[in-house]
């Protein structure tokens, strides 16, 4: 039955996607992108992917909307109406869609418990996690330990993007340098109601972020989601009080330090494992009891992920928001 809901949501998703491509107002496209993101996230939830749904909501609907708006504020919100290569593109796209649909016919049936995906590697994770790592959230176990090296890579992908944006847009944007920039970046200080409600909520948002961070072994969540939520909370502060105040609380240098420190914590845990005689990222050697060692390692690396992601997302946000024109 829930699958029917999924089908309904997917139909809405296709409509949204077509509308995104059709509209010429970029602001509208970004808004619809937010809706598409929520739809995708709801679908993930229906398909049993709670962790992914949380990430998609925090990143797709939250952070990415904020970033797109930041870029739109610095460029134009209106697209020119010409579309080049319309016919050729349509032909390419329709042909490729048909090929893709053709390729679907030999696929294992949807949700089939006997498909290779369900029978080969994944049962091992579900079966062995209680024995080796002993935490309820298998997704966190796979993310942090079995495939911890991928996650290390992921942290450095984020780090690279942060470095890149700072390299392109400057690490010390001229906040408050000119009267004009200060005026534009003053935030919503004159809107009383959002300001009061927002300030009331910020501590709870950060608290919730910390809960997601440390509850990641038991429920949906983990360092990445927590980092995105905490960053969103601080972005809220910047929206309400203006860029300048937010940068005074957390200067760009500090954020850069967080970016580097997060990656170093993660990598450092790996190196310590190596020194203690295990393989890289083999947390079992961290404690005399291998299971305890695994749990300790996962908590440490998740902390590293959280710190790095918070630092990077905030750096990127500030780089856009404080860009002087």
């Amino acid at each position: 039955m829930t699958v029917i809901f999924g089908v309904f949501l997917l139909t809405l998703l296709v409509i949204t996607a077509l509308a995104i491509v059709r509209t010429e107002n970029l602001f509208v496209a970004v808004m619809l992108m937010g809706i598409a993101s929520l739809l995708i996230a709801a679908n993930f939830f229906i398909l049993d992917a709670a962790d992914v749904a949380l990430t998609e909501a925090a990143v797709g609907a939250g952070i990415s909307t904020v970033l797109f708006l930041g870029a739109l504020a610095l460029t134009n919100a209106q697209e020119r109406s010409t579309t080049s290569r319309k016919l050729l593109s349509t032909i390419v796209v329709v042909a490729a869609t048909l090929v893709l649909i053709f390729a679907t016919f030999d696929k294992p049936e949807f949700g089939d418990p006997n498909s290779p995906v369900q029978t080969h590697v994944s049962p091992w994770y579900l079966e062995k996690t209680p024995e080796y790592i002993d935490i309820p959230n298998v997704v966190t176990a796979v993310l942090g330990s079995y495939r911890g090296y991928d996650t290390l890579g992921e942290v450095f992908v984020v780090f690279t993007a942060g470095i890149g944006v700072l390299f392109l847009l400057g690490a010390n944007p001229g906040v408050g340098a000119g009267q004009q920039a200060r005026e534009i970046n003053s935030g919503l200080r004159h809107h009383l109601i959002p300001r009061v409600v927002g300030r009331l909520l910020i501590p709870f948002i950060i608290l919730f972020g910390l809960y997601v961070q440390f509850h990641g072994e038991y429920g949906p969540g983990g360092g990445f989601q927590a980092g995105a939520i905490i960053a969103a909370g601080i972005i809220l502060y910047a929206l309400l009080e203006g860029e300048k105040r937010a940068l005074e609380v957390m200067p760009q240098k500090f954020l850069l330090g967080m970016m580097a420190a997060g990656g170093l914590i993660y990598g450092g845990v790996g190196v310590v494992c190596m020194v203690l005689g295990g393989n890289f990222l083999d947390y079992s050697v961290l404690s005399s009891n291998p299971v305890k060692g695994q749990q300790m390692g996962i908590i440490l690396i998740e902390a590293g992920v959280g710190i790095a992601v918070t630092g990077t997302l905030l750096s990127i946000f500030h780089a856009f928001a404080a860009r002087e024109r």
């Binding site: 296709v14 996607a17 679908n43 970033l67 797109f68 134009n76 869609t97 498909s115 991928d150 990127i316």
Partner: protein
């Protein structure tokens, strides 16, 4: 049920190609980025769909669920990573667009090509 399952894959195909169309046909750089984000989301959907198991639940053990069928955790982990990669690419792409706007005063591909020809 068979058609329902296929429907998920078809939506993946259509979504993928809608995003791809925006990337190749639209001259506006931000629109291209939006298309790219859509394009990547479609792939996320593909992975999560294949990890789903009928009658299963999220792969998080809990006292409430007891002894049940769990969906495959591995595609979820992969997509967590891929979502992060996606937002990183988007952020960097938008950074480049902002710089292009500053240097050229335009974010339309054909206009930029015209300016470069001069």
């Amino acid at each position: 049920m068979k058609i329902l399952g296929l429907y998920y894959y078809w939506v993946f195909a259509i979504l993928l190609m809608t995003g791809f169309y925006a990337v190749i046909a639209k001259p506006n750089l931000i629109k291209k980025m939006i298309g790219l984000a859509l394009f990547q989301s479609a792939v996320f959907l593909l992975y999560i769909t294949m990890g789903h198991i009928v009658g299963g639940t999220a792969p998080i053990f809990s006292s409430v669920t007891g002894d049940t069928l769990y969906s495959n955790p591995l595609p979820q982990v992969l997509i967590l990573t891929a979502i992060v990669v996606g937002i990183s690419t988007t952020a960097l792409g938008l950074g480049i667009i902002v710089r292009i706007k500053e240097e050229y005063g335009s974010i339309e591909e054909d206009e930029i090509q015209e300016i470069d020809k001069q």
